[in-house]
């Protein structure tokens, strides 16, 4: 009796999540794949015609938006690493007893709604806002200078909004490093920089790796930041999908664009994991 139950137990445990994924992920995915190959319109209805042109048309029409999305994703992800790593490092090694307080303070802004945060960025970056206004009034910035409605505004919004997804995995990786191992490096004649490059950095790379995946994917498919901060000139593929779906009711086109983006991200992440996620990186770091 216990034998049967013992063998069934693992399956029973994944049953709820399995059912959940089947109902709310797998089924819609299949429906969307099907939809992406259909033709028609909202009034006459959509019919399955295996219309692969939805993909080729989408890619040729919005190729520049794909490129921009991936570019923004890349820049924002790198910016996240640059900001998150020192912060995570400081909290992990210098935070002492107050580590969790510092982490909480870092995450506190993210308790506010995503939209509200993005809109408040708009207020910060606006031409007469609290930063640009005084700088221009004092003649530090030229009159025509503005940030809003530029790629810089979108990327900075993306960087800000997805920072915790980079900080947390890096922090966890750094936190796990045995301080005695770092001491051992100093003991074996390593300078501070060498100890960092040879010991701390390689041991924290798994955290950076996880952080990149957790930021790059949502950042590249985001549309809120471009919508609020980017203006009409800096739209990302997410904005196109949103417009096609909700404004134009072009469901097949929107589905095809979504799947194209998903495929591109999957291939990119896979290639990234193959080149950077393996031991080779760690090997290289040890030289």
């Amino acid at each position: 009796m216990t034998g049967v139950r013992g063998r069934l137990a693992p399956y029973l445990m994944i049953l709820p999540s399995g059912l959940w994924l089947a109902a709310f992920f797998l089924v819609p995915m299949v429906l969307m794949v099907s939809l992406s190959l259909q033709t028609g319109n909202l009034i006459d209805g959509f019919r399955q015609t295996l219309h692969w042109q939805n993909y080729t048309d989408g890619l040729s029409t919005y190729g520049d938006k794909f490129v921009r999305s991936l570019w923004y994703g890349l820049v924002a992800t790198v910016a996240c690493i640059v900001i998150a790593y020192p912060a995570a490092y400081w909290i992990a090694f210098r935070g002492g007893r107050s580590k969790s307080t510092y982490l909480f303070l870092l995450l506190l802004p993210y308790f506010v709604s995503f939209i509200l945060r993005t809109v408040s960025w708009k207020l910060v970056l606006t031409d007469n806002g609290p930063i640009l206004g005084p700088l221009r009034d004092h003649g530090i910035l030229p009159d025509g200078f503005h940030v809003l409605d530029t790629g810089v505004a979108v990327v900075s919004g993306l960087t800000y909004n997805f920072l915790p997804f980079m900080v947390l995995p890096i922090y966890v990786a750094l936190e796990r490093i045995d301080p005695r191992v770092v001491e051992a490096a100093y003991d074996l004649y390593a300078s501070r920089l060498q100890a960092f490059l040879r010991v701390i950095l390689p041991l924290s790379l798994p955290g950076v790796f996880a952080g990149v995946i957790m930021t790059f994917v949502p950042v590249s498919s985001d549309y809120v930041n471009a919508e609020v901060l980017g203006g009409p000139q800096n739209t990302m593929i997410g904005n196109i999908i949103q417009t096609e779906y909700f404004n134009n009711s072009a469901y097949p086109t929107a589905s095809a664009l979504s799947f194209a983006l998903m495929a591109i991200l999957l291939v990119g992440i896979f290639a990234y994991a193959r080149t950077l996620g393996t031991q080779d990186v760690l090997e290289a770091a040890r030289r």
């Binding site: 005695r180 001491e183 004649y189 390593a190």
Partner: protein, 383 residues
């Protein structure tokens, strides 16, 4: 393999310069507005090539003392000299000592060879020499052929030897070992004790060994400093420390020791005679520094294996104390007797079972304890 250092003598050119010298070292920590003194004034001179142990219970300041030598802690007061050079304030990466950490602290992302080569690479030793020296060192610690293994793929004993090789390959002026055998099981620990001693002889480097295990310290050390509460209680060879514990703490911490007290009947000529109970008489040599006057009380220690048991009152040339046997425990090679003396002190006696004869006494017997006065060791007035 022995380092020949030019070693400039600091004060006396005729004397060999100690490998490590601590002068009035103190270390206090500040936490929550409180100051905790971990080390309260340690003076030490460790000779070149010596196997020196810092022995004491946890929290006695032994690890802090070692970390001061390594440079991980800066002393609040006092100076640290390595081979005559004042290194107080010099960071660990510029001190010519290496450390074997309690948890080994191997670099988990590097294989055995890279771990061992780490220090040499940081010092810019040529590649060919690194390969040669690391290879030799891995031979010494019996790990040849495992260069490409990761630490996680090694047993605890092997990791320990990698840690040793990683430090020794740099030919430091002193090797600091922080309870390096603590994580190993008993059998392996005993084997490693012998191994460590062999390696130390082979490389001729000064070893400073931190441990709370008196057996380890007695087995391996040339000299031992017994520490308690941030101070050195006694410094001497294992034999001196065992045979002549200088303080109540050392007597209690090292091995089993009997503590006996009595009123001083006569004192002078480097010895004293104590009265213990109605008919007990103990003679004890008195060192300089132990204050003895007739009529005062004095305490002394005597080791359990130094005491003999008899049914008749011993002669006046030995110490004699009467007591009642309260417990007899047969242990094969020896028998332990617990005896309460006529003055009410509890005494343990270990007798070797040299013959297969019956026990000398059984529970409840009245017996006489006797020992050579040289085995009495005065430690001062009772507390």
């Amino acid at each position: 393999m022995t380092e020949t250092q030019p070693a400039p003598a600091r004060d006396d050119p005729g004397r060999a310069v100690p490998a490590i010298e601590l002068a009035g070292v103190e270390k206090a920590y500040h936490a929550y507005g409180e100051t905790v003194a971990a080390v309260r004034g340690v003076d030490l001179a460790i000779a070149q090539g010596e196997f020196f142990s810092l022995l004491g219970p946890s929290g006695c300041g032994k690890t802090t003392t070692m970390r001061v030598v390594a440079g991980f802690e800066e002393p609040t007061a006092g100076r640290v000299h390595l081979h005559g050079q004042d290194v107080t304030g010099v960071p660990p990466n510029r001190r010519d000592v290496n450390m074997v950490f309690q948890s080994y602290a191997l670099f988990p992302h590097m294989n055995v060879f890279e771990n061992v080569a780490f220090g040499l690479r940081r010092r810019g030793v040529p590649k060919a020499e690194i390969a040669k020296r690391a290879g030799e060192m891995l031979d010494i610690v019996d790990l040849a052929g495992r260069e490409r293994r990761r630490p996680a793929e090694l047993s605890g004993g092997q990791q320990q030897r990698v840690a040793l090789a990683r430090a020794l390959v740099n030919r430091p002026r002193a090797l600091l070992l922080d309870e390096p055998l603590g994580a190993l099981d008993l059998k392996l620990r005993q084997a490693m004790q012998v191994e460590l001693k062999r390696i130390q002889r082979e490389v001729g480097i000064t070893f400073v060994y931190v441990t709370h295990d008196q057996g380890e310290a007695l087995t391996m050390s040339d000299r031992i400093a017994v520490m308690n509460d941030g101070l050195i209680e006694q410094l001497g060879t294992p034999r001196e420390i065992y045979e002549h514990p200088a303080t109540r703490f050392v007597a209690g911490f090292i091995g089993t020791s009997n503590l006996l007290g009595g009123e001083v009947a006569e004192a002078g000529g480097g010895s004293a005679v104590l009265l213990h109970g109605p008919d007990g008489r103990i003679e004890v040599p008195v060192r300089d520094g132990v204050r003895v006057a007739a009529g005062e009380r004095l305490e002394l220690t005597v080791r359990p294996e130094k005491i003999g048991i008899g049914l008749d009152k011993p002669g006046d040339d030995v110490c004699g104390v009467r007591g009642t046997v309260t417990e007899v425990v047969y242990l094969g090679t020896s028998t332990n007797y617990n005896i309460t003396t006529s003055a009410g002190a509890d005494v343990v006696v270990f007798l070797q079972n040299a013959t297969s004869a019956d026990d000398i006494a059984v529970r409840g017997d009245d017996v006489w304890l006797s020992w050579d006065p040289r085995h009495s060791y005065a430690i001062g007035a009772p507390q």
